[in-house]
């Protein structure tokens, strides 16, 4: 499981244009939900917060695994949408970039990766983080 942490809200806001960006928020509903960073509730929270800050959030999608084509292929964006805010890990964002090459992709999460045991005798662990 690729665990994630939320990006700072100001960082997300900083990547968005209040006037030009027409936004759709897309959330993964598997690893991120289990990391408590994505899923239905977080999707609503982020969209509401962006709307309160006057961003033009048109709609949102809850997708089981945005990193798998058979799921992301079912996302039908509104023609006016030019920006996707992704509550997904790096591979979900990469797949969004491939499927929607003309859209601006704004990741709303950061990868923590997976935790592995480096030394089983001392139970020393470390995070393996996907490169972005």
């Amino acid at each position: 499981m690729n665990k994630t942490r939320p990006a700072k809200y100001d960082e997300i806001k900083g990547k968005l244009d209040l006037k030009k960006d027409v936004i759709s928020v897309i959330s993964c509903n598997t690893c991120t939900r289990l990391s408590n960073t994505g899923g239905e509730k977080k999707l609503r929270m982020l969209a509401n917060r962006l709307r309160k800050d006057s961003f033009n959030v048109v709609d949102g999608f809850l997708i089981t695994m945005p990193c798998v084509d058979s799921y992301i292929e079912n996302v039908e964006l509104h023609p006016s949408v030019n920006t996707l805010v992704m509550l997904a890990c790096s591979c979900g964002c990469a797949n969004a970039t491939t499927h929607f090459p003309d859209k601006k992709i704004v990741p709303a999460l950061q990868d923590r990766g997976t935790e592995i045991i480096v030394d089983s005798k001392t139970n020393t662990k470390r995070w393996r983080v996907p490169k972005t």
């Binding site: 997708i63 084509d69 045991i117």
Partner: protein, 402 residues
Amino acid sequence: MIISLRSLSYDDLKKQLSKDDKIVIWSCDTCIRFMGLGGFKNMKILEKMLTHDGYNVLKKELISVSCVPELIDDRLVNQEKKKIFDQATVIIVIACEEGWECVEEKFKDKKIIKTFKTVGVGNISEKRGTLLTNPYDDIPLEPKAEGISLKDVAQQLGLYDTFFDADIGKVPQDNLVEITINGKKYQSKQGENLLVACEEHGFKIPHLCFKECLKSVGACRLCLVKVEGMRGLVPSCTTTVSEGMKIITDDNELYKYRRMILELILAAHEHNCLFCPSNNKCELQDLIHQFGIDTIRYKLNKQLLPLDISSDAFILDSNRCLLCGRCIRTCEEVAGIHNLGFANRGARTIVSAGLNQKLSDTDCVTCLACVYACPTGALYEKMYHYVGEDWIPTKIYGNYKQ
């Protein structure tokens, strides 16, 4: 999706085993199966290879998500499984490194063999194949949004992008006996499931409750066949292959019975494919097309049962349920949670969670194993599109069901 590649050759694997070892083959049923490198079918291949080479394979253990420790716990307490795991000396793990670590953590008294190296995260695509997009920080590859093919990753890192059978060419077949299917002679493995044996020789037998990785219960009765010397019609899913068996998989009588069963299933509830998220990915729908059913002779039960939408990950719609029990057996055998079961009796029987509670009030870990096992749209993933000021959710219909 976690991307892992095989790090051991078949010869290297054998070097880690001794002929006295009692082996359990363990596979995760999520990322590694999506990549086509794990799951029940691959475990079966490895079992064939190892038994052919004289090793003692006790069990194939499929787990819905190997990196969730709570799911492994059942294997330590479930009496039926515990008996086998107590005997085992070696567990061969087909899972990512995190999944392997969870197994190692729980079975400290056994040798746990790691067969896969996890290299990062990536995408699964029917058209483009499996792709590594974001390698881990300790992997000498650079991230690419369009992804790196597994073949390239394997070449650059000295790993294998295939399963063990690729190392030896043809998977060996042992204990073969002669059977006759519809008048023609074939060779099949002694003790093999009859339905699987017939399908391997190209004879499609309709079935809904059978799934090879689960115990067979013979609930749907669609797979009935005729076996010479056996009384009445025999459910092929609960029958095993034996020497000289003569089987008829299809004739007018069997067609008539199967069609009647399908009509009765359709009459039990209103199956409207138009509003079903599993439309075009439904095993019942495929059979209806195969049998050319356009009307049903029985009175249709139009009573609508409530949907359980309480789970964060999926929806339970009893109106589309055939009571095949696949989800119940999957929750028990693959997830190891024992959270699903039948409630009520007779025509009022439904699949329910916990003590007939809402899914969100039960021990469900949302591993989705039951959803992948469901042959119809009774269990489907929550895929929503939120629109308007009030953010009203509408279902997404499409061909996403795995």
